[in-house]
């Protein structure tokens, strides 16, 4: 078994602009994903939009600079994630294809294996 991070990318404005019907279908698809993945889900959640982010980075010396906003200023940003336990990539791809973000034109799901230090 291995862990995979599913990073859900998309345009927050378009997520916010969903009609109630669209939002309902969206939530239902996530429900179907969670039902299918069951106990394989080790964590997950929706994130507040990128403008709410706070980023800390080096000032080039010993100090830390705190900035208002995300690390990368892009139209599409991470909007949510799942941490998933699975035996192989095929299993993850099959489950991830249930997520509504892989059908919408502005979003996508990036699958990243978590490094196993065992």
């Amino acid at each position: 078994m291995a862990n995979y991070m599913l990073l859900i990318f998309g345009d927050a404005q378009q997520w916010a602009a969903m009609t109630p019907e669209q939002a309902q279908a969206h939530d239902a698809a996530h429900e179907a994903f969670r039902a299918a993945a069951g106990s394989q889900i080790a964590g997950g959640g929706a994130l507040e939009p990128a403008p709410v982010a706070t980023t800390l980075r080096s000032d080039g010396g010993d100090g830390i600079i705190t900035t208002d906003g995300p690390f990368l200023e892009t139209k599409e940003a991470v909007g949510g994630y799942y941490l998933l336990e699975a035996s192989d990539l095929d299993e993850v791809m099959k489950l991830a294809s249930l997520l509504p973000e892989v059908r919408a034109s502005h979003s996508a799901v990036e699958i990243r294996p978590v490094v196993d230090h065992e």
Binding site: A2, S87, D88, L89, D90, M93, K94, I111, P113, D116
Partner: protein, 409 residues
């Protein structure tokens, strides 16, 4: 003796490697052990004679070598995760072998790998081409290709792309990726993107043997039979593509008595079988178009209306600009060059064809037949700028000179 080892390499490489991977669960180590087995064959066969079953000898040797290495390695920390494999299945040894080759192909052609990585891995691991040979296919340096192959292998292991035949619900989608890879290897061989040779025989042979292997291992699959039929029907014309002097001959100029009747028969019967099993698919329709050509005893007797009708079907199944181009050319060949130019006109604005040399070449030929020499010369120049294949360039240059010679003043 060297020939016997070379033959065993062509015939058995995929099986030797695939069976060894099942043991090592590490592509690099399996590759090393398979290579060692072939080197050992080169050393020992001259003395001991060729084994009765060379493939089995090579598999045993490679697997023994792998066991030795694994025994020594077990105390060390492994740097890369093991491949995800199924538990060994009980059953006769040769059934397992077949499954192993399929596992290898499906792993190399996994959709999570880029198309280029899929092709490179398939050529290197399944067909046994050297890294230098694979590099030549992509027109890159050997070191560049070696790095790309290493990266692809690393992804297989780190992302846990499984070493297994996909589950039934994923199978048809995954087979179509494999077939795309095989088809691309074939087309790259059929007209080499660059270099002195019109075709790359090694790639054509690799593609055909891959298609044969798939057809053997998944006998009920109509799409595989259709692709094999397509490759055989096109390859049947290979002996007549060049004149004795090495010049490119168009289909209209080829000596059809030199076409390989055996391949045509085999291809036609595979296609008929595929069409009986399921509704026509992309490759079946392309094979049917190739079959119409092989059925015509002479160029003048080609049934262009049937070819156009087949392109109409193909356009529904696989709507790409290249299909539109081929259909337009067929219209010109049936109704005359002016009709051909008219059919090509809407394609000129298609960005997908902007750097597609065959559009320029087709247009140039219709313009030449219409005696519009200036436009023809321009189109030949455009086509020349878009191919680096020396044989094609020589053909286009001859036509360009002819067009220029006819210009007034």
């Amino acid at each position: 003796m060297v020939a016997a080892v070379a033959q065993a390499h062509r015939r058995d490489w995929a099986q030797v490697l695939a069976t060894t991977v099942q043991l090592t669960r590490d592509l690099d180590l399996a590759e090393e052990c398979a290579q060692d087995a072939y080197e050992q064959a080169l050393r020992t066969w001259p003395e001991t004679g060729i084994p009765e079953r060379p493939g089995a000898w090579l598999i045993t040797t490679a697997r023994n070598r792998a066991r030795d290495v694994l025994r020594r390695q077990s105390t060390f920390h492994r740097a890369i995760p093991l491949l995800v494999t199924e538990e060994a299945l009980p059953g006769p040894e040769d059934t397992l072998l077949h499954d192993d080759r399929l596992r290898l192909i499906f792993t190399c052609c996994h959709p999570a790998l880029s198309r280029e990585a899929q092709i490179a891995l398939t050529l290197r691991l399944v067909c046994g081409l050297s890294t230098a040979e694979v590099a030549r296919v992509f027109l890159v340096r050997e070191s560049t290709m070696a790095a790309r192959i290493t990266r692809a292998k690393k992804k297989i292991s780190a992302a846990r792309i499984p070493y297994r035949v996909p589950s039934p619900d994923q199978l048809s989608e995954r087979v179509s990726v494999v077939l795309k890879v095989v088809h691309l290897i074939f087309t790259t061989g059929h007209t080499a993107p660059a270099g002195p040779q019109l075709a790359r025989r090694d790639l054509i042979d690799s593609a055909i043997s891959l298609a044969r292997m798939l057809n053997l291992l998944m006998p009920g699959n109509a799409e595989i039979s259709a692709l094999l039929a397509l490759l055989l029907l096109i390859d049947a014309r290979a002996p007549s593509r060049l004149s004795p002097a090495g010049d490119l001959l168009l289909l209209s100029e080829q000596d059809r008595t030199r076409w390989d009747r055996q391949l045509i028969e085999e291809g036609t019967s595979l296609l008929t079988g595929a069409l009986h099993r399921q509704a026509p698919t992309r490759y079946a329709v392309e094979a049917a178009i190739a079959a119409v050509h092989t059925e015509a005893p002479a160029w003048e007797e080609t049934d262009w209306s049937q070819i156009i009708a087949l392109y109409d079907v193909l356009r529904q199944l696989w709507p790409t600009p290249v299909v539109g181009l081929n259909r337009a050319v067929a219209i010109g060949l049936r109704d005359g060059p002016a009709a051909g130019l008219e059919a090509l006109a809407p394609l000129l604005a298609d960005p997908a064809l902007a750097t597609y040399g065959y559009l320029s070449a087709a247009r140039a030929d219709f313009l030449r037949q219409c005696r519009q020499w200036q436009d023809a010369a321009d189109a030949y120049e455009e086509a020349l700028a878009l191919t680096s294949n020396d044989v094609e360039r020589a053909f286009l240059t001859r036509r360009l000179i002819e067009a220029r010679a006819n210009l007034p003043g």
